[in-house]
Amino acid sequence: MKVRYADIDLSTGQVRDYHLSEDIVRLYLGGKGLAAYILYQELAPGIDPLSPDNILIFNTTPLTGTGAPCTSRFNATTKNVLTGGIASSNCGGSFGIKLRRAGYDGLIIRGKAPQPCSLMVIDGQITIQDARELWGLDTEQTQHRFDRKYGCVVIGPAGENQVRYACAVSGERVLGRCGIGAVMGSKNLKAVVTYGTRSLPINDPETFRRDVQHWVKALHKNPTTGEFLPRYGTAFWMNIVNRHHILPTLNSQQVKHDQAQRISGEYMTEHHLTRNSGCVSCPIRCERRIMLDGKEIKGPEYETLGLLGANLGVTDIEWINQWNYQCDLLGLDTMSLGVTLSLAMELSQRGIKDYGLNFSQPENISIAIEKIARREEPFDELAEGSAWVAQKYDALSFAIQVKGLELAAYDPRQSQALGLAYATANRGGCHLDGGYPVYFEALGPIAVNGHTVRGKAALTVLMQNLMDAVSTSGFCLFTALGSLPAALFKFKENSFVPRLLGNIIISLPSTHWLWRLMPGLMPLNLPSFLPHPLIIRDVTGMKMTLGQFLQMGERVFNIERLFNIREGLDRQQDCLPERLVSEPAELDKPDTVVHLDKMLDTYYRIREWSNQGIPSPRKLKQLGIAN
């Protein structure tokens, strides 16, 4: 299995091929895994993420562009602007497909261009073009300057001004987290543009077509991927999250909002939705299309509705629709923005610092967003992210971030595994990188008790490895959620059977025992339960069992961890904000805090890491990371 990566130095304009051996590609496949390997090899420790020394990698997987379900996603990996550890972010849209059709599987970008530039990867030819006339344009205007059939990743004013949570935009999809846009801005890189027409190899086209047909049917039959997500979008989870009291409200001072229904997927579908849509190659189609000022645009996702909604005390969806669009144009991550704004509001509430922003008052927010993106007074401080602001005003105890990255719109105090996931996720406080165990503790058809710590370390490890495997192979994470049997959804929420199944999951004696032997114990390849390895085999010819697939995820998680360790992030940083471990989510239930200390040692033990969270040489050897 051969891949072609270009190594581009923006400082000198030099372009060369970057060699990757077939053995390494077999171990990491592509996406965030292979990118983490490259970054670990190439990046000197201790550099400033916004300096020319940082390396930005855009890459794909062998599945990108083949049409396998939900595989249009491409990855961006770099040193994290917010955490100083690793950053990985992935995004739908056609950029990755066009990059591969242009003849490249990945781009490794170094240095800093002397002036604003666009990187053009067209028909296998890489050129660096002057982009001074694009500097200052928003993401929509910038993309309109290129041929409509090209795939683009661009930044807006926020990225140009190196707002630390600036995102990069591709079509209407977004590389949202970790400051990818700021890194592009620091390199004077306004846009990366791809187009090509090469056909992409599929090792066994007949079996591939049959397996894809089977899987698409299974995804359509599954209630999560065939009904809830296409009908209501990711915001379908809003009412469920609110019912479980895990909705961050008023900077996580509360965990539910009486008016949450007004920012739910059901409400949006009833009042705003024009139609649903989806990324290229996706049969799930969870994207929302809504009208704003007579123009059809992308609607907000659950995280945006949660963090710019309930978290700020705002439940008027019209405001959030507008802010979401504004953030996409300016190139700002709505999630980090939401938490940074809620921190600013609590600072004002406590009389520590008044930015003119208050809970439940949406009027000033649009101006604040604009000024943050342009780093204008008095909001320029908020462009540094919540951890920086909290440090300045001695507010770390209620800044809802881990390692510097703001948490998602799920409060972990009644979802213990999620708390552990946030604390240990490699890119910082991220629900997805953390394994999304909240799907079992609240969102999905299996009701794992969110209050207990029993079995949660094993569950978190399993889910983290699964999510990393899915992500590294280029699939959308929702394809994993679509693997649970449809029959489970027939039971009432929190009724006997879902609770029984939840109990079984966390009670399995030493789940980690199974886990250690996993590659040998799981030779299963079922077309309707996690068929990802089957599709990988069809496309690449590389035989892979489900166990080996999960082990690939574990390998990726460990190499990302090694990167973080080398940057000085160890056990001390595997923590949660004080509020989440000491302030009960519900006043009458003192136990509703995250019991991180009770889970972390077990988690390290299952991972076979030292008690400081450092992967053991034995584990690294077993995973093929070290010899």
Partner: protein, 140 residues
């Protein structure tokens, strides 16, 4: 190997206008050129050339075919998952995802929304992962 244009070309630009991947360049009334890095061997240029100036990927002169006999995509709505691979690859904006029949209708699929734009290049049929697109000549 890609398609190419020989010196019989009179620069009418018919091929350039129809090429689904914009692989053909050249000024009007001057000889045109096919970019071999971009050409997808769809044969559309050969079908339209009145001069017989287009050579196929084997170096043989391509045969002109009347437009009525060009194949068009036929989409099996039951098989289609509306994944948009065909819509994305179509260089002529001839395809789109259908409009929901009623509010809340999730059963949408790809349709040939703009048949006049279609040049019968077959890229949609080749890319469809489900085999839901076939190319057929419309006899009527």
């Amino acid at each position: 190997m890609a398609y190419s244009i020989n010196d019989k070309c009179n620069g009418c630009s018919a091929c350039k206008l129809l090429c689904p991947v914009d692989a053909i360049s050249g000024e009007r009334k001057e000889a045109h050129h096919i970019n071999p890095l971009r050409c997808v061997n769809c044969g559309v240029c050969g079908r339209v050339c009145a001069q017989g100036a287009v050579l196929d990927d084997q170096g043989q002169p391509a045969v002109r075919i009347p437009r009525k006999q060009w194949p068009l995509p036929v989409i099996d709505a039951h098989l289609c998952s509306a994944c948009s691979m065909c819509v994305d690859i179509c260089g002529k904006q001839a395809l789109a995802i259908s409009t929901p029949a009623y509010k809340g209708d999730l059963r949408v699929y790809a349709v040939l929304s703009n048949p006049k734009n279609c040049v019968g290049c077959s890229l949609c049929a080749q890319i469809c992962p489900l085999g839901a697109v076939t190319m057929e000549v419309q006899l009527s």
